[in-house]
């Protein structure tokens, strides 16, 4: 056996870029012996979840004299700005005024949606885990579940729901801006006490089912349950969609994620960004719901 010695360690010192976990843009599956399997679905289902265009909103069909949208209150969020976890030059990102659902979409509301849109019933959607906790296409379970947020829905389904109400999913900018509000003030994102509260909400033990809506707190914009009830879909959750939102080139899977962060103390934001960075459009997680915006 050849026992030739080498200069490898030095070559690394001389030529390697500053890499924290791995170089930016490194492909995880190449040359590393890695394979990634998710709980999701057949390729066809993935394709559907990522490419289905939002269903056009039908004309409101009143039921018992009330259109679905009108039962779901929205709050107006005035224009403002926020500091993303990653932002070149630490520049705040402006956010235009928008409206946002006060609460995450509930199972009862989602049931109404699939009644009107049979193509989104469980048996018609080939995404693994879709509404897996429901008893049937039109049965979400006990009446006590009605006010729990609907979960186990892929992003395309959430988009379709919102579109059916003439709305859309919030952007990450909108969601993060809205979620920076505390109970009493609109920009609490850098307040240590607020951050600690969010950390506690995020890391408390998870029940088998999410609690009913309204069980956390209402913020200064009038929005409830943004933190600690369920994670929520946004339009542009994935790194490919929007670099700075999901961490982008920042590797959310290593201590290097602190590099380039606007505030390494913002642990709640790291938890959110890491969650979004790990999301795939077809994720049907029991703790992932959504609300709509317009």
């Amino acid at each position: 056996m050849s026992r030739r010695r080498t200069l490898l360690p030095l070559l690394v010192v001389v030529t390697a870029p500053v890499a924290l976990c791995s170089g930016p843009g490194a492909e995880p599956a190449v040359g590393s012996g890695a394979a990634v399997r998710t709980a999701a679905a057949a390729p066809a289902a993935v394709a559907r979840a990522t490419t289905v265009a939002p269903t056009p909103a039908p004309a409101a069909r009143p039921e018992a004299g009330v259109a679905p949208a009108s039962r779901r209150e929205m709050a107006r969020v005035p224009a403002g700005s926020y500091l993303p976890l990653y932002a070149a030059g630490r520049r705040r990102v402006p956010v235009a005024a928008f409206e946002m659902d006060r609460y995450p979409v509930t199972r009862a509301e989602y049931l109404e949606f699939v009644r009107r849109h049979p193509e989104w019933r469980r048996s018609r959607v080939a995404v693994a885990g879709y509404l897996a906790d429901w008893r049937g296409d039109l049965d979400f379970g006990d009446a006590t579940d009605a006010r729990r947020p609907v979960t186990r829905v892929p992003r395309a389904a959430a988009q379709a729901f919102c579109a059916a109400e003439g709305k859309r999913l919030p952007t990450t900018d909108e969601w993060e801006y809205a979620a920076g509000a505390g109970v009493d003030r609109r920009d609490a994102a850098s307040d240590p006490a607020f951050r600690q509260r969010l950390l506690e909400l995020y890391t408390r033990p998870r029940g088998a089912e999410p609690a009913p809506i309204g069980s956390t707190f209402r913020n200064a914009f009038g929005l409830s349950d943004l933190h600690g009830l369920v994670w929520e879909w946004v339009q542009d959750a994935m790194p490919a969609d929007h670099a700075h939102h999901a961490g982008g080139a920042h590797d959310m899977g290593c201590a290097g994620s602190a590099n380039g962060a606007t505030d390494p103390d913002d642990y709640p934001a790291f938890l959110r960004y890491a969650f979004r960075a790990a999301l795939t459009p077809d994720a049907t997680l029991p703790n992932l719901g959504f609300r709509c915006a317009r």
């Binding site: 056996m1 080498t6 360690p9 976990c21 709980a39 950390l199 890391t203 033990p205 088998a208 201590a255």
Partner: protein, 359 residues
């Protein structure tokens, strides 16, 4: 490469060759197709067969490996988030590798190809991954193992370097994942194994940063400011106060040789690991493969590091494991116990009235 860099390469290269020779390392050259350059890499030995690793909960360690060849080892590790006891009356929502803190002990052999299946249980809240310090490759596996609840990720690496290594979750924010319990040890046995001993145990020190003060009852959340300030309320062995006390004490018989695989998860503190009343005959400092020091009273174990200590239990009685940064032992929980059964040997230990230590 510049001329300067070449000169430096030559000079540094000499030092590295010497270091490599001392360490007994051998590199082979492998020609890179087309470039003409020669890239030195270690070529793993061929693997034969497949086995599923038997993992153990702390303080136990899987039996030594008797295989004389490399194999493919399947390691199944489940991430479980659940409230667990931190101290009497105190619970903490632990994030775990395998349902225990520290996580399952993994034992493989140098040269083994490890196929690690990381399953993030469906009831969990967070994505998780794993960085094993035994891995040669970016992120130690972290980059390719980010796993959502309800999913499984498979990652393969060859255990090129023997030694005792920490593994931990590396998902952002890493300090929270470590502070919440996501760490454990993996032993890569050198070819030929470690010297035979009578008993082996797995001990891992770590800190907990609870919102409530030490001893405050109830389910305690993580406190960010205490973490940043490096002011833990708890410093414990094996995930909880008393995890190695009372009926959970480590046991040995007089005359037996004992080896402790000791890890330190941190996340912040360096451990001054000490066993009251015993002297370590051998210390494999920092978890390396050489018994690098003998007759050691206290050995430093860095956060994210490990050590192997060996001793012969010669006198019966109770021996207390501590972090000899002693307030941690007295006030924060860094206490464990080794009970040695046997006959007092008055020739080496007796009190004023001739009282032996054991009774």
């Amino acid at each position: 490469m510049t001329k300067l860099a070449v000169r430096r390469a030559t000079r540094f290269g000499t030092a590295i060759v010497a270091a490599a020779a001392l360490g007994g390392l051998a590199f082979t050259f492998k020609a890179e197709a087309g470039s003409g350059a020669r890239i030195p890499v270690r070529t793993p030995e061929p693997v034969r067969g497949v086995e599923v690793a038997k993992l153990t909960d702390p303080p136990f360690v899987p039996p030594p490996i008797t295989r004389t060849y490399a194999t493919k080892v399947v390691v199944n590790l489940d991430v479980v988030e659940k409230p667990m006891r931190l101290a009497d009356g105190v619970e903490y929502n632990m994030w775990t590798f395998g349902g225990t803190v520290p996580g399952k002990f993994i034992r493989v052999r140098e040269g083994d190809m490890v196929e690690l299946h990381l399953r993030n249980m469906a009831g969990n809240s967070m994505p998780h991954n794993i960085d094993l310090h035994a891995v040669t490759g970016p992120g130690g596996g972290a980059k390719v193992t980010m796993t959502m609840p309800g999913s499984e990720t498979v990652f393969t690496f060859t255990a090129l370097n023997p030694g005792l290594y920490v593994y931990h979750c590396a998902t952002a924010p890493v300090p929270v994942h470590i502070a919440n319990g996501m760490y454990g040890l993996i032993l890569v046995e050198p070819k030929g194994g470690l010297p035979k001993v009578d008993r082996e145990y797995y001990v891992m020190q770590s800190e907990f940063y609870t919102k409530g003060k030490h001893g405050e009852a109830g389910l305690q959340p993580f406190d960010f400011q205490k973490g940043v300030d490096e002011r833990p309320e708890y410093v414990v062995f094996n995930g909880a106060e008393g995890a190695l006390l009372g009926e959970h004490a480590l046991r040995a018989k007089q005359g037996e040789t004992v080896r402790l695989y000791v890890g330190n998860a941190g996340p912040n503190l360096t451990s001054s690991f000490h066993l009251i009343g015993e002297i370590f005959d051998n210390v494999y400092q920092e978890g390396g493969t050489m018994a690098s020091q003998h007759n050691v009273q206290t050995t430093l174990i860095p956060a994210g590091g490990a050590a192997i200590v060996e001793f012969r239990a010669e006198e019966p009685g109770d021996y207390t494991l501590v972090d000899h940064s002693i307030f941690r032992a007295f006030n924060k929980g860094a206490l464990g116990l080794l009970k040695v059964d046997g006959q007092p040997n008055l020739a080496i230990y007796k009190g004023q009235a001739g009282t032996p230590a054991a009774e």
